[in-house]
Symmetry: C2
Subunit: 248 residues, 2 copies
């Protein structure tokens, strides 16, 4: 069934990775795309950009760009730079999703992209009604689908990003990246519920969060409203996303 080939022949040698410059094969076009997700009024939204040039001119697409070998340290740095220059978003949570590459996603030929997911705090981005209101906009991501048809295979990438986030929310503290630095436990629970699309028992939720031990109270600070004030929490310094032992 499986076995090791006898020898790498001449053709194989020529196409050895990182051995010689490719011979007879064009280098695929490499891009970096970022799926930006946030919660707006309790619904997951993504930031899309209307393409200004062919292919897919006038079609909505993910925020993306090329690697700048002179500027970019690595792939994540490239994603962060693109995020900053194209969407004006600075240093949020960015993680690589996966690569997508084939012959058909771009009419110009074989291309590859490194898809990333960026999470930004709820409602910190106000929708723009200025010069670029018509080229950059938030779109709701309801039941694993967005309203507009997307360029390239971006619908597939977006779906993969949302699936990744939904799965990861089940067993990590990922939602903290969708909240401002200080929040209440009820705020956090709402985010979990909104992304997972199902209610979570309050006492169980609080038990899990307490066990995970990644939050601390801000002593003496409470969210005031027309009822019992809620304790304000923040993430313990030095901690990032926490993995729970079990599902939330």
């Amino acid at each position: 069934m499986a076995g090791v080939t006898e020898r790498t022949d001449q053709k194989d040698r020529a196409s050895d990775p990182e051995t010689t410059v490719t011979e007879g094969f064009e280098r695929p076009l490499v891009t970096v795309d970022v799926v930006i997700l946030t919660l707006r009024a309790g619904v997951l939204h993504t930031l899309l950009m209307k393409r200004g040039a062919d292919p897919f001119q006038g079609t909505w697409a993910l925020i993306g760009g090329y690697i700048h070998p002179q500027e970019d340290e690595d792939l994540e740095a490239a994603a962060r730079r693109i995020l900053r220059s194209k969407a004006g978003i600075d240093t949020p949570y960015v993680e690589q999703l996966q690569g997508f590459g084939d012959a058909r996603r771009d009419p110009r030929g074989w291309t590859v992209t490194f898809a990333h997911v960026a999470l930004i705090p709820s409602d910190t981005l106000s929708p723009r009604h200025g010069a670029n209101a018509e080229t950059v906009a938030w779109w709701p991501v309801d039941a694993r689908a967005v309203a507009p048809p997307l360029a390239f295979d971006h619908a597939r990438i977006l779906a993969a990003a949302v699936t990744r986030v939904r799965n990861k929310v089940e067993y990590t503290s990922l939602p903290i990246h969708l909240l401002p630095p200080r929040f209440t436990l009820t705020d956090l629970q709402r985010v979990y519920e909104q992304i997972l699309g199902r209610p979570i028992e309050k006492s169980q939720f609080r038990r899990r969060i307490a066990e995970a031990n990644f939050l601390e109270t801000v002593p003496g600070e409470f969210r005031q409203s027309s009822n019992r004030p809620a304790q304000i929490y923040r993430i313990k310094t030095g901690l990032s996303t926490i993995f729970f032992d079990r599902t939330i």
Copy 2:
């Protein structure tokens, strides 16, 4: 803090993804690497190849190659072709791990690679002692480390692959890909234990597997030995990797 930029300026436009051909930026070199994992005598092993040319001539490296735009449908197809041509391994379990790319991993400059993980059944590959015994070999992956120093950032990729597999084994049926098509429940339990590095309670393990409902008995077939024969199982047709509700 976060906001949408006013407009994409001239420079941004020039570097718009998939809009125009890159101007002033070289295309990074694109490769596909595969971390091949199997169990040999109860220990996780990976298949490495000694590099025949610079850079890193004579150093052990992952199996990898270039994308062939004419032949390869997509990234996974490229990984499968490389697997076949370089290691003689056909259609096993292949999944993309993630992309790695920066300016320092290859002395020739900015390169990117799409790292994949391939799992192949235990002990179906006999170690070769033929012509290429010295250029292709199995290496044990013990405590998140392999014996030889690896070329490029392959040590990091290998570590990421092993971490991914270890994590995924906790809550999926991934180990079935490390077994032949027919196996006993004890075989399967052994694989889980060997990869996770801890014992699992027999009765609990069998309960979980039964609940997950992805195996079926092969009626009348038993593994014969010098004691009570064990029922042979196979994966139900049409099912691939199953996700459990809880950890194993």
